[in-house]
């Protein structure tokens, strides 16, 4: 299951995980196309010329599409590299805007053939050929490859041998002619095409003996994108300039600057006009602040992901569904979301599918509204009886829970604090243990630690595909991603069916049934889905990141109104 976007968000934005999402209508605010130069008089960013300046909190400087590890680096990479296929607003794939002019998938789904556009130039003037595409797949399979993309290409015949170092060539990758590459796969999946959608690297530039030598080129990338690298200053900014020979029409702006800003001051930087765009945290306070900015427009769209609290199913107390339901009924998630994200910043989550997905069930999910009476009832039924000291006991064992959380995100600190107080009234004794994100991630991934925790919280980012096998399947118990050791036979069956079914309408039914099941069985306490808000200076036109598209999806179309 390729939750590529998810991963990016989850990791790179560890600190900003506090971002959240909302209701089921997608707000669609797009930049006002009718700004006149006169209106820019009081615009604090108006004197920065025909260059787009974006604010962001971090760049690692790994500008390589196969080895990058943070979403912010990917912001730059996407402007300098194109993928074979373009991701459309609804998340589907298209050749329009992609480097492949055509592709074919065989009847059994096991052979994929790419036909490349002709005349596409890399930034160094050389033409893109089938060699480059084949090289990129091969680079991901090399034994010393240190990135995260191997899983995307491991179904190609010969990949395992190449990875293990027992073969130097990969029979599954064939160059048919200068512009045609044929891939042969071991298995066909609904996610195959999405996985194979790489950003080609020029072989003549990147083909080095070791991964260290390739890494030495990280800061001087050469791609086919609308912009090329101009000046990268560590910890300060990254400046890109227009690539005049861009195959899809040269960009309308002279360049793009990514300026590093501090999370605390990002909106202030926007206010005084040092940056044109800011992808800010969706807190209720931040929405209040941006409401007062006359020179900016709010783009408030869903984030494709959800935040959760995992139950550890190795603990007998959580094996009773009534206990899980009682705990969810017993904490005021709606109040929390309202208090932190307000009306437009997020919504309570009820299932592991984001509201932006085609598979999201519009109705029929139990909302588990805050209901201490019901929660008490369920706990009584489950045999946990309140004793004279106010806590609940069953067979002499106290209902005490150890919840591990992390300190980098505000919700991860405040939500457990709320649960502790709410559950105290139910007679459930919650102990919160804060640690840093890295320690928590390591702790719950280690199979030997399976008895060391009862609950923990994190967030998942998702892709356009709703497949969720990697997070809930028996096959992915730790060190895999099913950290809570959840297992349900019916769920297992449906998830397998969902990924092998190729017809989208049928898949939709399957995933809706799954959503219902998860909603009732509660492998997690689902906490929230959130918005991913941007503020954009009015002088910028056509800047329009969406749920499935990064800001650069139309990089060459972005315009700036100058004085």
């Amino acid at each position: 299951m390729k939750k590529r976007v998810a991963l990016l968000l989850v990791f790179a934005l560890v600190v900003s995980m506090f971002l959240v999402g909302c209701t089921t209508d997608t707000p669609s605010v797009t930049p006002d196309a009718d700004v006149t130069p006169e209106e820019l008089v009081n615009n604090p960013g108006a004197n920065r010329g025909n260059v787009l300046t974006m604010g962001g909190t971090n760049l690692n400087g790994v500008f390589n599409p196969i080895t990058y590890s943070t979403a912010y680096d990917y912001w730059m990479i996407g402007a300098m590299f194109d993928a074979l296929l373009y991701i459309k607003e609804d998340g589907s794939l298209s050749t329009e805007g992609g480097l492949a002019e055509k592709y074919e998938v065989s009847e059994d789904g096991k052979i994929v053939t790419w036909y490349l556009r002709k005349g596409v130039k890399f930034h160094d003037g050389q033409e893109l050929t089938a060699e480059d595409v084949a090289f990129t797949y091969d680079a991901i399979m090399r034994p010393d490859y240190q990135g995260r993309s191997y899983n995307l290409v491991r179904d190609i015949v010969g990949a395992e041998e190449r990875k293990a170092g027992t073969a130097d060539t990969v029979p599954g990758i064939e160059i048919l002619d200068n512009y045609t590459v044929r891939l042969t796969l071991k298995a066909a999946k609904a996610t195959t095409l999405r996985n194979l959608n790489i950003m080609p690297l020029p072989k003549h530039y990147y083909d080095k003996a070791t991964s260290e030598e390739m890494a030495a080129l990280d800061r001087d990338p050469v791609g086919t994108g609308a912009f090329k690298m101009k000046n990268y200053q560590v910890e300060q900014f990254c400046e890109l300039e227009r690539f005049d020979d861009y195959w899809n029409g040269a960009a309308k702006i002279d360049g793009v600057i990514y300026k590093m800003v501090a999370r605390t001051n990002e909106l202030s930087e926007f206010e005084i006009g040092t940056i044109d765009t800011v992808n800010f945290e969706n807190s209720v306070e931040n929405y209040e602040i941006v409401d007062g900015f006359d020179h900016g427009i709010l783009l408030n769209r869903w984030n494709n992901g959800y935040a959760y609290v995992a139950f550890n199913f190795n603990q007998p107390k959580f094996q009773d569904v009534r206990v899980r339901q009682a705990l969810v009924y017993g904490v005021d998630r709606a109040g929390f979301v309202q208090s932190f994200f307000g009306d437009i910043g997020g919504a309570v989550a009820h299932a592991p599918i984001s509201p932006v997905s085609w598979a999201f069930p519009k109705s029929g999910l139990n909302e588990y509204k805050y209901d201490p009476v019901k929660a008490n009832q369920l706990l009584d039924e489950a045999g946990w009886i309140k004793a004279a000291d106010g806590w609940r006991y069953k067979d002499g064992e106290k209902l005490a829970i150890n919840w591990k959380s992390y300190q980098e995100a505000e919700w991860a600190i405040k939500f457990p604090a709320l649960a502790k107080e709410n559950w105290k009234e139910l007679g459930v004794d919650l102990e919160i243990e804060l640690m840093d994100f890295n320690s928590l991630g390591t702790l719950v991934a280690e199979p030997a630690n399976k008895d060391k925790w009862d609950m923990f919280n994190m967030a998942w980012g998702l892709t356009a595909d709703p497949d969720m096998q990697s997070t809930f399947s028996k096959g992915t118990f730790p060190p895999g991603n099913n950290r809570g050791y959840y297992y349900n036979e019916r769920v297992e069956e449906l998830m397998e069916k969902g990924v092998l079914e190729l017809d989208q309408a049928k898949r939709k039914e399957i995933y809706q049934e799954l959503a219902q099941l998860f909603n009732e069985d509660l492998p997690y306490m689902f906490v929230y889905v959130r918005m991913n808000p941007w503020m954009v200076n009015k002088r910028v036109k056509n800047f329009n990141p969406t749920e499935f598209q990064y800001w650069w999806h139309n990089a060459n179309q972005i315009e700036i109104v100058t004085q």
């Binding site: 390729k2 990791f11 240190q146 995260r148 910890e235 590093m260 005084i272 991630g441 994190m458």
Partner: protein
């Protein structure tokens, strides 16, 4: 004195080895894993993580990892590559250390320029209005958490009256003349420099005042006065020299602070120094980078302490080295 310096330099070697062992032990035994971000990546499977562990040598026993690390440094002058930033550690440090040093050095100078005169005058005019004023001024600097002081300054000077930039060291994307470039850097320097100098000045000022007070009550100062020497000569020639002894100690210990103490200020002002890298290296358990930065700082500190000890001998003839 020469013998003393050589002996002290030789003594540093076992200390550095000790520090490196301790650091390596603490870092690698701490919970967490440099590959933790891969653990939460749905794209990564257990076998790939194992493969990466082998690539990075994380599956070896800790002692062997340490020996490999030291061997690489001695044989190839190679401190390894950062796992997160994928570049050589030495390169990552050298491209950031000068910004840190520039800010730290300037702030040290300003600190001393503010602190020593106030401290001296405050001591010579003890219990005067100037003394109280100076004391309160100095104390204000160390009574506000520096990150908060920085935020308040930004609010006032960058957002409300827009005099100085909020963050960074240069304005990106603008072609400046040479002069313009320096002015631009200077404008970016003002706020972080203010915070660092004021918070640093307090402790120097108090140390100067304390020891000055002590010195001017000593018999030899009275004797000097009795001999009819001018007050200025007494204070600045005889008293100040002795009063600065504890200040010199503080100065020696200030060198590591120059490099690591500005961490929070660098983060708030997005100053392109080593601050943020230090923080994220730890959060990501980037072992080679953590080791590199901390060893670098440790060596600097040892060096600073050594200078302090030697300077001590120069300014205080009563101290005997044997």
């Amino acid at each position: 004195m020469g013998k003393f310096i050589i002996r002290r330099l030789l003594q540093q070697i076992p200390i550095i080895i000790g520090i490196s062992m301790l650091l390596f032990g603490i870092f690698t035994l701490a919970p967490g894993n440099p590959l933790a971000s891969f653990f939460t990546d749905p794209n990564m499977t257990a076998d790939q993580i194992k493969h990466l562990e082998e690539l990075y040598g994380l599956n070896k026993p800790k002692v062997e990892q340490y020996v490999d690390y030291v061997k690489e440094i001695i044989l190839h002058q190679n401190m390894g590559n950062s796992m997160q930033l994928r570049q050589p550690v030495t390169k990552l440090i050298s491209e950031r250390m000068w910004s840190t040093f520039y800010l730290a050095f300037l702030s040290l100078i300003f600190t001393l320029l503010i602190a020593i005169p106030i401290g001296v005058i405050s001591a010579t005019k003890q219990y005067s209005i100037f003394d109280y004023g100076g004391t309160i001024f100095a104390l204000m600097g160390i009574s506000i958490p520096s990150f908060f002081f920085a935020l308040l300054l930004i609010k006032k000077f960058s957002i409300d009256i827009r005099l100085f930039p909020i963050s960074g060291m240069v304005t990106p994307g603008v072609q400046f003349t040479t002069m313009g470039k320096y002015l631009d850097i200077l404008k970016h320097t003002v706020l972080p420099l203010t915070v660092l100098s004021l918070t640093g000045a307090a402790s120097f000022m108090r140390y100067t005042r304390s020891s000055m007070l002590e010195v001017i009550r000593q018999d030899y100062i009275r004797t000097a006065r009795a001999k009819g020497l001018k007050e200025r000569v007494v204070i600045y020639k005889h008293a100040l020299r002795n009063a600065l002894i504890p200040v010199v100690t503080l100065l020696g210990m200030q060198i590591p602070v120059l490099f690591s103490g500005a961490l929070i200020i660098e983060i708030v002002f997005v100053w392109p120094g080593m601050g943020k890298m230090q923080h994220t290296a730890v959060l990501n358990r980037d072992y080679p980078l953590m080791m590199g930065i901390n060893l670098f700082l440790a060596v600097l500190t040892l060096f600073g302490n050594l200078i302090a000890d030697i300077a001590y001998g120069f300014v205080d003839p009563r101290i005997k080295y044997d």
